[in-house]
Protein backbone atom coordinates (compact mmCIF):
# COMPACT_ATOMS: atom_id res chain seq x y z
CA UNK A 1 0.00 0.00 0.00
CA UNK A 2 2.66 2.52 1.07
CA UNK A 3 4.94 1.49 -1.78
CA UNK A 4 2.18 2.18 -4.32
CA UNK A 5 1.79 5.77 -3.14
CA UNK A 6 3.39 7.82 -5.96
CA UNK A 7 4.19 10.82 -3.78
CA UNK A 8 6.57 11.15 -0.84
CA UNK A 9 4.11 13.70 0.54
CA UNK A 10 0.76 13.74 -1.30
CA UNK A 11 -0.37 16.73 0.79
CA UNK A 12 2.38 18.99 -0.49
CA UNK A 13 3.04 17.58 -3.94
CA UNK A 14 -0.58 18.00 -5.04
CA UNK A 15 -1.27 21.26 -3.23
CA UNK A 16 -3.18 23.82 -5.34
CA UNK A 17 -1.03 26.45 -7.02
CA UNK A 18 -2.74 29.14 -4.98
CA UNK A 19 -1.89 27.43 -1.69
CA UNK A 20 1.64 26.71 -2.85
CA UNK A 21 2.17 30.40 -3.54
CA UNK A 22 0.71 31.29 -0.13
CA UNK A 23 3.04 28.78 1.50
CA UNK A 24 6.04 30.23 -0.36
CA UNK A 25 5.19 33.77 0.70
CA UNK A 26 4.72 32.77 4.32
CA UNK A 27 8.00 30.87 4.36
CA UNK A 28 9.92 33.58 2.49
CA UNK A 29 8.84 36.13 5.08
CA UNK A 30 10.06 33.82 7.83
CA UNK A 31 13.48 33.03 6.33
CA UNK A 32 14.06 36.66 5.37
CA UNK A 33 13.28 37.74 8.93
CA UNK A 34 15.52 34.97 10.28
CA UNK A 35 18.44 36.09 8.09
CA UNK A 36 17.86 39.76 8.91
CA UNK A 37 17.82 39.14 12.64
CA UNK A 38 20.61 36.57 12.91
CA UNK A 39 23.19 37.29 10.19
CA UNK A 40 25.26 40.48 10.28
CA UNK A 41 26.05 39.98 6.60
CA UNK A 42 22.40 39.78 5.54
CA UNK A 43 21.28 42.59 7.83
CA UNK A 44 23.87 44.95 6.45
CA UNK A 45 23.02 43.99 2.86
CA UNK A 46 19.31 44.66 3.44
CA UNK A 47 19.81 47.82 5.47
CA UNK A 48 21.93 49.22 2.65
CA UNK A 49 19.09 48.49 0.23
CA UNK A 50 16.56 50.01 2.62
CA UNK A 51 14.44 46.88 2.93
CA UNK A 52 13.16 45.28 6.13
CA UNK A 53 11.18 42.09 6.87
CA UNK A 54 7.90 43.97 7.25
CA UNK A 55 8.30 45.28 3.67
CA UNK A 56 7.60 41.82 2.25
CA UNK A 57 3.83 41.68 1.80
CA UNK A 58 3.55 39.82 -1.50
CA UNK A 59 5.72 37.63 -3.73
CA UNK A 60 6.13 40.65 -5.99
CA UNK A 61 7.96 42.37 -3.09
CA UNK A 62 10.51 39.55 -3.03
CA UNK A 63 12.27 40.87 -6.12
CA UNK A 64 13.26 44.03 -4.20
CA UNK A 65 15.38 41.93 -1.86
CA UNK A 66 19.04 42.16 -2.89
CA UNK A 67 20.55 39.05 -4.45
CA UNK A 68 23.47 37.22 -2.89
CA UNK A 69 26.33 36.16 -5.15
CA UNK A 70 28.94 33.53 -4.51
CA UNK A 71 31.66 36.19 -4.59
CA UNK A 72 30.04 37.90 -1.57
CA UNK A 73 30.22 34.67 0.42
CA UNK A 74 33.84 34.19 -0.64
CA UNK A 75 34.67 37.66 0.71
CA UNK A 76 33.03 37.31 4.13
CA UNK A 77 34.35 33.84 4.99
CA UNK A 78 37.58 32.74 6.67
CA UNK A 79 36.78 35.22 9.43
CA UNK A 80 35.12 34.86 12.84
CA UNK A 81 33.05 32.99 13.67
CA UNK A 82 35.70 30.94 11.89
CA UNK A 83 35.56 29.83 9.16
CA UNK A 84 32.08 30.94 8.18
CA UNK A 85 32.08 34.65 8.96
CA UNK A 86 29.11 36.98 9.29
CA UNK A 87 26.47 34.94 7.45
CA UNK A 88 26.36 32.29 10.17
CA UNK A 89 22.97 32.47 11.89
CA UNK A 90 23.45 29.94 14.68
CA UNK A 91 26.03 29.42 17.44
CA UNK A 92 29.10 27.59 16.12
CA UNK A 93 28.41 24.71 18.49
CA UNK A 94 25.10 24.05 16.71
CA UNK A 95 26.93 23.36 13.43
CA UNK A 96 27.22 19.62 12.85
CA UNK A 97 28.01 19.41 9.12
CA UNK A 98 30.76 20.90 6.99
CA UNK A 99 30.80 20.85 3.22
CA UNK A 100 32.37 23.19 0.65
CA UNK A 101 31.95 24.09 -2.99
CA UNK A 102 34.46 22.74 -5.47
CA UNK A 103 36.17 26.08 -5.99
CA UNK A 104 36.14 25.80 -9.79
CA UNK A 105 34.98 29.44 -9.93
CA UNK A 106 37.38 30.74 -7.28
CA UNK A 107 37.83 30.34 -3.55
CA UNK A 108 35.59 27.53 -2.21
CA UNK A 109 32.52 28.58 -0.21
CA UNK A 110 32.22 26.86 3.17
CA UNK A 111 28.78 25.51 3.98
CA UNK A 112 27.78 24.96 7.61
CA UNK A 113 24.64 23.04 8.48
CA UNK A 114 22.93 22.26 11.76
CA UNK A 115 21.52 18.79 12.31
CA UNK A 116 18.10 20.21 11.41
CA UNK A 117 19.55 21.51 8.15
CA UNK A 118 21.01 18.12 7.45
CA UNK A 119 17.64 16.46 8.10
CA UNK A 120 16.20 19.03 5.70
CA UNK A 121 18.80 18.13 3.04
CA UNK A 122 17.85 14.46 3.25
CA UNK A 123 14.15 15.38 3.30
CA UNK A 124 14.64 17.24 0.01
CA UNK A 125 16.30 14.12 -1.37
CA UNK A 126 13.52 11.89 -0.04
CA UNK A 127 11.11 13.76 -2.34
CA UNK A 128 13.48 13.10 -5.23
CA UNK A 129 14.08 9.42 -4.62
CA UNK A 130 10.44 8.52 -3.96
CA UNK A 131 9.40 10.39 -7.14
CA UNK A 132 11.97 8.38 -9.09
CA UNK A 133 10.61 5.07 -7.90
CA UNK A 134 13.03 4.25 -5.09
CA UNK A 135 11.38 2.02 -2.51
CA UNK A 136 12.50 0.15 0.64
CA UNK A 137 13.24 -2.98 -1.43
CA UNK A 138 15.97 -1.15 -3.38
CA UNK A 139 19.66 -1.80 -2.81
CA UNK A 140 21.33 1.49 -3.73
CA UNK A 141 24.99 1.73 -4.75
CA UNK A 142 26.67 5.13 -4.28
CA UNK A 143 29.98 5.41 -6.15
CA UNK A 144 31.26 8.80 -4.99
CA UNK A 145 34.13 10.13 -2.91
CA UNK A 146 32.40 10.67 0.49
CA UNK A 147 34.51 13.72 1.25
CA UNK A 148 34.22 17.48 1.72
CA UNK A 149 31.94 17.92 -1.29
CA UNK A 150 28.23 17.39 -0.75
CA UNK A 151 27.75 15.30 -3.93
CA UNK A 152 25.45 12.39 -2.97
CA UNK A 153 25.89 12.59 0.81
CA UNK A 154 22.31 13.70 1.42
CA UNK A 155 21.06 11.12 -1.07
CA UNK A 156 22.72 8.47 1.09
CA UNK A 157 20.84 9.66 4.18
CA UNK A 158 17.59 10.04 2.22
CA UNK A 159 17.80 6.52 0.80
CA UNK A 160 18.19 5.26 4.37
CA UNK A 161 15.19 7.38 5.40
CA UNK A 162 13.13 5.71 2.67
CA UNK A 163 14.20 2.35 3.96
CA UNK A 164 16.54 1.38 1.12
CA UNK A 165 19.70 -0.59 1.75
CA UNK A 166 22.64 1.68 0.93
CA UNK A 167 26.04 0.48 -0.24
CA UNK A 168 28.72 3.18 0.17
CA UNK A 169 31.07 2.68 -2.78
CA UNK A 170 33.49 5.35 -1.59
CA UNK A 171 37.16 4.58 -2.06
CA UNK A 172 36.75 1.67 -4.47
CA UNK A 173 38.03 2.15 -8.01
CA UNK A 174 35.65 1.87 -10.95
CA UNK A 175 36.30 -1.81 -11.63
CA UNK A 176 35.89 -2.73 -7.96
CA UNK A 177 32.63 -0.78 -7.86
CA UNK A 178 31.30 -2.66 -10.88
CA UNK A 179 32.22 -5.98 -9.30
CA UNK A 180 30.52 -4.94 -6.04
CA UNK A 181 27.33 -3.98 -7.92
CA UNK A 182 27.43 -7.38 -9.58
CA UNK A 183 28.22 -9.27 -6.37
CA UNK A 184 25.50 -7.60 -4.28
CA UNK A 185 22.89 -7.30 -7.05
CA UNK A 186 22.40 -3.57 -6.52
CA UNK A 187 19.23 -2.19 -8.10
CA UNK A 188 19.94 1.53 -8.23
CA UNK A 189 22.88 3.83 -8.82
CA UNK A 190 23.63 7.54 -8.48
CA UNK A 191 26.45 9.49 -10.16
CA UNK A 192 27.24 12.20 -12.70
CA UNK A 193 26.35 11.39 -16.33
CA UNK A 194 30.07 11.45 -17.14
CA UNK A 195 30.76 8.78 -14.55
CA UNK A 196 27.71 6.68 -15.48
CA UNK A 197 28.92 6.54 -19.09
CA UNK A 198 32.52 6.01 -17.94
CA UNK A 199 31.49 3.08 -15.74
CA UNK A 200 29.63 1.52 -18.65
CA UNK A 201 32.69 1.91 -20.90
CA UNK A 202 34.97 0.38 -18.25
CA UNK A 203 32.62 -2.57 -17.74
CA UNK A 204 32.35 -3.16 -21.48
CA UNK A 205 35.87 -2.47 -22.65
CA UNK A 206 38.08 -3.48 -19.73
CA UNK A 207 36.06 -6.13 -17.90
CA UNK A 208 33.96 -7.80 -20.58
CA UNK A 209 30.86 -7.14 -18.49
CA UNK A 210 27.70 -5.92 -20.15
CA UNK A 211 26.43 -3.15 -17.81
CA UNK A 212 22.85 -3.90 -18.89
CA UNK A 213 23.28 -7.36 -17.35
CA UNK A 214 23.98 -6.00 -13.86
CA UNK A 215 20.35 -5.54 -12.85
CA UNK A 216 20.40 -1.79 -12.21
CA UNK A 217 16.84 -0.57 -12.81
CA UNK A 218 17.19 3.14 -12.09
CA UNK A 219 19.95 5.73 -12.08
CA UNK A 220 19.84 9.20 -10.56
CA UNK A 221 22.17 11.78 -12.02
CA UNK A 222 23.45 15.11 -10.77
CA UNK A 223 26.25 17.59 -11.30
CA UNK A 224 25.93 17.97 -15.08
CA UNK A 225 23.00 18.57 -17.44
CA UNK A 226 23.40 15.17 -19.18
CA UNK A 227 20.39 13.33 -17.76
CA UNK A 228 18.12 16.01 -19.21
CA UNK A 229 19.89 16.00 -22.59
CA UNK A 230 17.82 13.47 -24.58
CA UNK A 231 20.70 11.90 -26.50
CA UNK A 232 22.89 11.53 -23.41
CA UNK A 233 19.99 10.12 -21.39
CA UNK A 234 19.30 7.66 -24.22
CA UNK A 235 22.91 6.47 -24.24
CA UNK A 236 22.91 5.93 -20.48
CA UNK A 237 19.56 4.14 -20.50
CA UNK A 238 20.67 1.90 -23.37
CA UNK A 239 24.01 1.06 -21.77
CA UNK A 240 22.51 0.12 -18.40
CA UNK A 241 19.01 -0.98 -19.47
CA UNK A 242 17.76 1.30 -16.71
CA UNK A 243 15.65 4.41 -16.33
CA UNK A 244 17.81 7.51 -15.91
CA UNK A 245 16.51 10.47 -13.93
CA UNK A 246 17.88 13.96 -13.47
CA UNK A 247 18.08 16.04 -10.32
CA UNK A 248 19.50 19.49 -9.61
CA UNK A 249 21.08 20.74 -6.42
CA UNK A 250 24.02 22.73 -5.12
CA UNK A 251 26.04 23.00 -1.93
CA UNK A 252 24.83 26.51 -1.05
CA UNK A 253 21.23 25.80 -2.07
CA UNK A 254 20.10 22.23 -1.46
CA UNK A 255 18.45 19.60 -3.66
CA UNK A 256 15.86 21.79 -5.34
CA UNK A 257 14.65 20.01 -8.47
CA UNK A 258 13.95 16.51 -9.72
CA UNK A 259 12.64 14.45 -12.58
CA UNK A 260 9.80 12.02 -11.83
CA UNK A 261 9.05 8.62 -13.36
CA UNK A 262 6.80 10.27 -15.97
CA UNK A 263 10.03 11.73 -17.44
CA UNK A 264 8.41 14.98 -18.63
CA UNK A 265 11.58 16.20 -20.40
CA UNK A 266 12.25 18.44 -17.48
CA UNK A 267 12.52 18.56 -13.71
CA UNK A 268 9.98 19.58 -11.07
CA UNK A 269 10.95 22.37 -8.70
CA UNK A 270 10.23 21.45 -5.08
CA UNK A 271 8.23 24.64 -4.57
CA UNK A 272 7.29 23.81 -0.99
CA UNK A 273 10.95 24.01 0.03
CA UNK A 274 12.35 26.47 -2.54
CA UNK A 275 11.32 29.70 -4.23
CA UNK A 276 12.71 29.81 -7.76
CA UNK A 277 12.73 33.00 -9.79
CA UNK A 278 14.06 33.30 -13.33
CA UNK A 279 15.79 36.56 -14.20
CA UNK A 280 16.37 37.86 -17.71
CA UNK A 281 20.17 37.92 -18.08
CA UNK A 282 20.17 41.18 -20.06
CA UNK A 283 17.37 43.23 -18.48
CA UNK A 284 17.15 41.78 -14.96
CA UNK A 285 13.36 41.41 -15.34
CA UNK A 286 11.72 38.42 -13.67
CA UNK A 287 10.45 35.94 -16.26
CA UNK A 288 7.10 34.39 -15.35
CA UNK A 289 6.10 32.94 -18.70
CA UNK A 290 7.32 29.65 -20.20
CA UNK A 291 9.80 29.49 -23.04
CA UNK A 292 12.18 32.31 -22.08
CA UNK A 293 15.55 31.40 -20.68
CA UNK A 294 17.14 33.27 -17.83
CA UNK A 295 19.29 32.68 -14.79
CA UNK A 296 17.92 31.25 -11.61
CA UNK A 297 17.61 33.25 -8.41
CA UNK A 298 16.71 30.83 -5.63
CA UNK A 299 15.72 30.87 -1.98
CA UNK A 300 15.93 27.81 0.23
CA UNK A 301 12.91 28.43 2.42
CA UNK A 302 13.90 26.37 5.45
CA UNK A 303 17.71 26.32 5.69
CA UNK A 304 18.87 28.12 8.80
CA UNK A 305 22.61 27.91 9.62
CA UNK A 306 23.75 29.84 6.55
CA UNK A 307 20.59 31.01 4.80
CA UNK A 308 20.26 30.94 1.03
CA UNK A 309 18.07 33.97 0.27
CA UNK A 310 17.79 35.10 -3.35
CA UNK A 311 21.03 33.39 -4.29
CA UNK A 312 22.21 34.16 -7.81
CA UNK A 313 22.96 30.58 -8.87
CA UNK A 314 23.93 31.41 -12.49
CA UNK A 315 22.06 28.26 -13.57
CA UNK A 316 20.26 28.87 -16.86
CA UNK A 317 16.69 27.56 -16.88
CA UNK A 318 13.25 28.20 -18.36
CA UNK A 319 9.71 27.36 -17.22
CA UNK A 320 7.85 24.64 -19.07
CA UNK A 321 4.31 25.40 -20.21
CA UNK A 322 2.79 22.03 -19.48
CA UNK A 323 1.70 20.06 -16.49
CA UNK A 324 3.02 16.59 -15.74
CA UNK A 325 1.27 13.23 -16.05
CA UNK A 326 2.50 12.42 -12.53
CA UNK A 327 -0.07 14.82 -11.04
CA UNK A 328 2.40 16.94 -9.10
CA UNK A 329 1.50 20.61 -9.03
CA UNK A 330 5.15 21.69 -8.76
CA UNK A 331 6.20 23.61 -11.89
CA UNK A 332 8.61 22.05 -14.36
CA UNK A 333 11.92 23.42 -15.59
CA UNK A 334 12.02 22.58 -19.29
CA UNK A 335 15.00 20.36 -20.05
CA UNK A 336 16.39 20.78 -16.51
CA UNK A 337 19.35 23.08 -15.98
CA UNK A 338 20.50 23.97 -19.48
CA UNK A 339 23.87 25.34 -18.41
CA UNK A 340 25.58 28.06 -16.43
CA UNK A 341 25.25 31.73 -17.27
CA UNK A 342 29.06 31.80 -17.14
CA UNK A 343 29.29 29.05 -19.79
CA UNK A 344 26.72 30.35 -22.22
CA UNK A 345 28.73 32.54 -24.50
CA UNK A 346 28.50 34.37 -27.77
CA UNK A 347 30.49 32.87 -30.62
CA UNK A 348 30.45 34.84 -33.87
CA UNK A 349 27.55 36.78 -32.35
CA UNK A 350 25.48 33.62 -31.77
CA UNK A 351 24.51 32.50 -28.25
CA UNK A 352 25.98 29.05 -27.65
CA UNK A 353 25.16 26.62 -24.82
CA UNK A 354 27.69 23.77 -24.59
CA UNK A 355 24.80 21.40 -23.78
CA UNK A 356 23.49 21.89 -27.34
CA UNK A 357 26.78 20.48 -28.72
CA UNK A 358 26.55 17.53 -26.32
CA UNK A 359 23.03 16.80 -27.55
CA UNK A 360 24.28 16.63 -31.16
CA UNK A 361 27.43 14.57 -30.50
CA UNK A 362 25.62 11.98 -28.40
CA UNK A 363 22.79 11.69 -30.96
CA UNK A 364 25.14 10.48 -33.71
CA UNK A 365 25.71 6.75 -33.92
CA UNK A 366 29.36 5.93 -34.35
CA UNK A 367 30.69 8.70 -32.14
CA UNK A 368 32.06 7.93 -28.70
CA UNK A 369 30.79 9.65 -25.55
CA UNK A 370 33.74 12.02 -25.17
CA UNK A 371 34.22 15.31 -26.96
CA UNK A 372 35.97 18.64 -26.50
CA UNK A 373 35.00 22.12 -27.66
CA UNK A 374 37.62 24.84 -28.05
CA UNK A 375 36.71 28.43 -28.86
CA UNK A 376 39.48 30.86 -29.78
CA UNK A 377 40.08 33.86 -31.99
CA UNK A 378 42.02 34.32 -35.21
CA UNK A 379 42.49 38.08 -35.48
CA UNK A 380 39.03 39.46 -34.75
CA UNK A 381 37.17 36.34 -35.84
CA UNK A 382 35.88 33.71 -33.42
CA UNK A 383 36.69 30.10 -34.25
CA UNK A 384 35.19 26.97 -32.79
CA UNK A 385 36.74 23.55 -32.93
CA UNK A 386 35.06 20.28 -31.96
CA UNK A 387 37.12 17.18 -31.20
CA UNK A 388 35.24 13.88 -31.20
CA UNK A 389 36.11 10.18 -31.07
CA UNK A 390 34.91 7.28 -33.16
CA UNK A 391 33.18 4.61 -31.11
CA UNK A 392 34.63 1.07 -31.15
CA UNK A 393 33.49 -0.69 -34.33
CA UNK A 394 33.20 2.55 -36.33
CA UNK A 395 36.93 3.07 -37.00
CA UNK A 396 36.46 3.39 -40.81
CA UNK A 397 33.33 5.56 -40.74
CA UNK A 398 34.87 9.02 -40.21
CA UNK A 399 34.09 10.24 -43.73
CA UNK A 400 30.43 9.31 -43.39
CA UNK A 401 30.03 10.70 -39.89
CA UNK A 402 31.72 14.08 -40.34
CA UNK A 403 29.20 15.66 -42.77
CA UNK A 404 26.26 14.44 -40.66
CA UNK A 405 27.87 15.91 -37.57
CA UNK A 406 28.49 19.26 -39.30
CA UNK A 407 24.91 19.42 -40.59
CA UNK A 408 23.39 18.69 -37.20
CA UNK A 409 25.65 21.20 -35.47
CA UNK A 410 24.71 23.89 -37.98
CA UNK A 411 21.02 23.03 -37.51
CA UNK A 412 21.07 22.96 -33.70
CA UNK A 413 23.56 25.73 -32.91
CA UNK A 414 23.66 27.95 -36.04
CA UNK A 415 27.45 27.74 -36.12
CA UNK A 416 30.10 26.19 -38.35
CA UNK A 417 32.80 24.08 -36.70
CA UNK A 418 36.25 22.78 -37.50
CA UNK A 419 35.90 19.07 -36.78
CA UNK A 420 38.74 16.84 -35.64
CA UNK A 421 38.01 13.12 -35.41
CA UNK A 422 40.18 10.91 -33.21
CA UNK A 423 40.49 7.22 -32.42
CA UNK A 424 38.54 5.91 -29.45
CA UNK A 425 40.33 6.63 -26.16
CA UNK A 426 42.31 9.66 -27.41
CA UNK A 427 40.42 12.44 -25.59
CA UNK A 428 40.65 13.11 -21.84
CA UNK A 429 38.42 11.06 -19.53
CA UNK A 430 36.80 12.56 -16.46
CA UNK A 431 35.87 10.79 -13.24
CA UNK A 432 33.20 13.12 -11.94
CA UNK A 433 32.36 16.44 -13.61
CA UNK A 434 33.73 16.89 -17.11
CA UNK A 435 35.40 20.04 -18.47
CA UNK A 436 34.74 19.69 -22.17
CA UNK A 437 34.30 23.36 -23.08
CA UNK A 438 37.33 25.62 -23.35
CA UNK A 439 37.05 29.28 -24.23
CA UNK A 440 40.54 30.61 -24.92
CA UNK A 441 39.51 34.02 -26.24
CA UNK A 442 40.27 36.01 -23.08
CA UNK A 443 43.89 34.94 -23.26
CA UNK A 444 44.48 36.56 -26.66
Amino acid sequence: MLNEQPYWNPVIETLSREKLRSLQLKKFKAIFKWAYENSRFHRSLYDEAGIKPEDIRSLADVRHVPKVEKSMMQRIQRKDPFPYGDALCVPLEDVTEYRQTSGTTGQPVYQPDTWQDWEWWSECWAYILWAQGYRPSDRVFLPFGYNIFVAFWAAHYAAEKLGCEVIPGGVLDTQARILKIQELKATALMATPTYILGMAATANNKMGIEPASLGITKITCAGEPGASIPSTKKRMEAAWNAKVYDHAGATEIGAWSYECTAQPLGTHVNEAFFLVEIEDIDTGDIIEEPGRRGKMIITALDRIAQPCVRFDSKDVIEWDSGSCDCGRTFRIIKGGVVGRADDITKVKGVLLAPSAIEEVVRSIEGLGDEFEVIVDKLGDVDRIKLKVELAPGFEDKAKEIEPRLKDQLRLKTNLGYRIEIYDYGSLPRYDVKAKRFKDLRDKH
Binding site: N9, V11, L23, E123
Partner: protein, 60 residues
Protein backbone atom coordinates in the same frame (compact mmCIF):
# COMPACT_ATOMS: atom_id res chain seq x y z
CA UNK B 1 -3.37 7.76 -5.79
CA UNK B 2 -3.55 10.83 -3.56
CA UNK B 3 -4.52 11.03 0.09
CA UNK B 4 -7.40 11.60 2.45
CA UNK B 5 -5.09 12.70 5.26
CA UNK B 6 -6.64 15.16 7.66
CA UNK B 7 -3.75 17.63 7.80
CA UNK B 8 -5.13 19.48 10.81
CA UNK B 9 -5.46 16.27 12.80
CA UNK B 10 -1.91 15.27 11.83
CA UNK B 11 -0.66 18.70 12.87
CA UNK B 12 -2.27 18.38 16.30
CA UNK B 13 -0.47 15.11 16.92
CA UNK B 14 2.81 16.65 15.73
CA UNK B 15 2.39 19.56 18.14
CA UNK B 16 1.82 17.06 20.96
CA UNK B 17 5.13 15.40 20.15
CA UNK B 18 6.79 18.83 19.97
CA UNK B 19 5.42 19.68 23.40
CA UNK B 20 6.68 16.44 24.96
CA UNK B 21 10.11 16.88 23.30
CA UNK B 22 10.37 20.43 24.72
CA UNK B 23 9.51 19.20 28.20
CA UNK B 24 12.09 16.43 27.96
CA UNK B 25 14.70 18.93 26.77
CA UNK B 26 14.14 20.99 29.92
CA UNK B 27 14.56 17.92 32.10
CA UNK B 28 17.59 16.65 30.20
CA UNK B 29 19.91 19.66 30.36
CA UNK B 30 22.45 17.80 32.47
CA UNK B 31 22.20 14.47 30.69
CA UNK B 32 23.97 14.23 27.32
CA UNK B 33 22.11 11.08 26.30
CA UNK B 34 18.81 12.90 26.70
CA UNK B 35 19.83 16.33 25.47
CA UNK B 36 21.71 15.23 22.35
CA UNK B 37 19.12 12.68 21.26
CA UNK B 38 16.45 15.34 21.66
CA UNK B 39 18.33 17.58 19.23
CA UNK B 40 17.95 14.81 16.68
CA UNK B 41 14.32 14.19 17.62
CA UNK B 42 13.61 17.90 17.35
CA UNK B 43 15.02 17.98 13.80
CA UNK B 44 12.80 15.06 12.84
CA UNK B 45 9.78 16.84 14.34
CA UNK B 46 10.71 19.89 12.31
CA UNK B 47 10.56 17.78 9.13
CA UNK B 48 7.03 16.69 10.08
CA UNK B 49 6.12 20.34 10.60
CA UNK B 50 7.53 21.31 7.19
CA UNK B 51 5.53 18.52 5.59
CA UNK B 52 2.22 18.96 7.40
CA UNK B 53 1.98 21.75 10.00
CA UNK B 54 3.05 24.44 7.53
CA UNK B 55 0.21 23.40 5.23
CA UNK B 56 -2.27 23.23 8.10
CA UNK B 57 -1.30 26.76 9.12
CA UNK B 58 -2.44 28.09 5.75
CA UNK B 59 -6.04 27.42 6.77
CA UNK B 60 -5.61 28.91 10.23
Amino acid sequence: MSTNLDVNAVDKKIQSIRQIASELKEIGRECPALDRNLVRLSASIKMLELNFSDVASLDA
